[in-house]
């Protein structure tokens, strides 16, 4: 369904994006960055760091926030900014939800923009990431 940007209002909620980042996704992310801290893919190494299992990398999670916003936005605009404040680790193979709401709609430099508040919520209902994004409602030409 295409987003009608003219109907976007403060308080609107983004559809929840249900995800379960698995070890394969994490390893592909490590390969993309060519960075392989063992606690991302080796359960024993993660335990040595005091974690109950392998972790979803923080920089991967900022991209997942971007994806949630991008999928909501579709062709109605583009993502200008996305920020992730990491509050607690997320483990691989565990469900997470990405939630968001429109915090503010405004005009800037002749363009209609919106600020979004975002969160990654783990299966305990805790916010593991608090996020923020800015979108602009113009088609990238």
């Amino acid at each position: 369904m295409t987003l009608d940007s003219s109907a976007v209002r403060e308080g609107d909620e983004l559809p929840i994006l249900h995800l379960r980042p698995d070890l394969g996704q994490v390893i592909r992310y490590c390969a993309l960055q060519w960075a392989f801290p063992p606690f991302f893919y080796d359960a024993e190494a993660a335990k040595a760091y005091g974690m109950p299992g392998t972790l979803v990398p923080g920089p991967l999670k900022v991209g997942l926030l971007y994806r949630a916003v991008d999928e909501w936005l579709g062709d109605a605009g583009w993502v200008c900014q996305v920020r992730a404040a990491h509050r607690r680790p997320d483990l691989t193979n565990r469900p997470i939800d990405i939630a968001g709401r429109v915090a503010r709609v405004y005009d800037e430099n002749g363009a209609r923009r919106a600020d979004l508040e975002l969160a990654i919520i783990n299966e305990q209902g805790e916010h593991s990431v608090r996020g923020f994004a800015v979108v602009e409602f113009t088609r990238p030409g």
Partner: protein, 154 residues
């Protein structure tokens, strides 16, 4: 807590220094790999040259060069935030000059980590005219687990 600030003149002088990281290009391979990582989808084709690509392709450009290491002032470190900023959408085939920069170094006293030091750094992607098009930033905090509340772990 240390007797004196660990932010020496040498450390403070790092703020604002720019380190050229070389040229990077938005390629079909970068697009395909980033799309697979972030969405799980394997695209059959890539956008044509000049067409917009999703911003998470930035993660594939980040990897073209190793960023300089931060000085290790305290024994433990933790990633506390990431940020991507775009002046406009990225486009297939574009080439950027990437530049690493330390944006801020701040001390914090008290709180969960006790005495800690935040390092905020970013990679700036500039077009051929030197205009920033995108930034990929991260903030790391250094702390001593022995002095942090509950070890500082999350």
């Amino acid at each position: 807590m240390p007797d004196a600030s660990l932010l020496t003149d040498e450390v403070r002088a790092m703020v604002g220094e720019e380190t050229p990281m070389g040229r990077v290009r938005v390629t079909p391979k970068a697009y395909r790999r980033a799309l697979e990582v972030y969405t799980g989808r394997i695209p059959r084709s890539a956008p044509a040259p000049g067409e917009p690509v999703p911003g998470y392709v930035l993660a594939a450009l980040d990897s073209e060069a190793d960023t300089p290491a931060m000085p290790s002032l305290l024994p433990n470190s933790l990633l506390i935030s990431n940020e991507w900023q775009f002046e406009r959408p990225l486009r297939m085939g574009e080439e950027f000059e990437s530049v690493y920069s330390v944006v801020a170094i701040n001390e914090r006293f008290g709180g969960r980590f006790g005495y800690s030091i935040d390092f905020r750094a970013e990679v700036i992607f500039k077009d051929p005219h030197g205009n920033p098009v995108a930034r990929s930033g991260r903030t790391m905090t250094q702390y001593s687990a022995a002095e942090a509340r509950d070890g500082g772990g999350t």
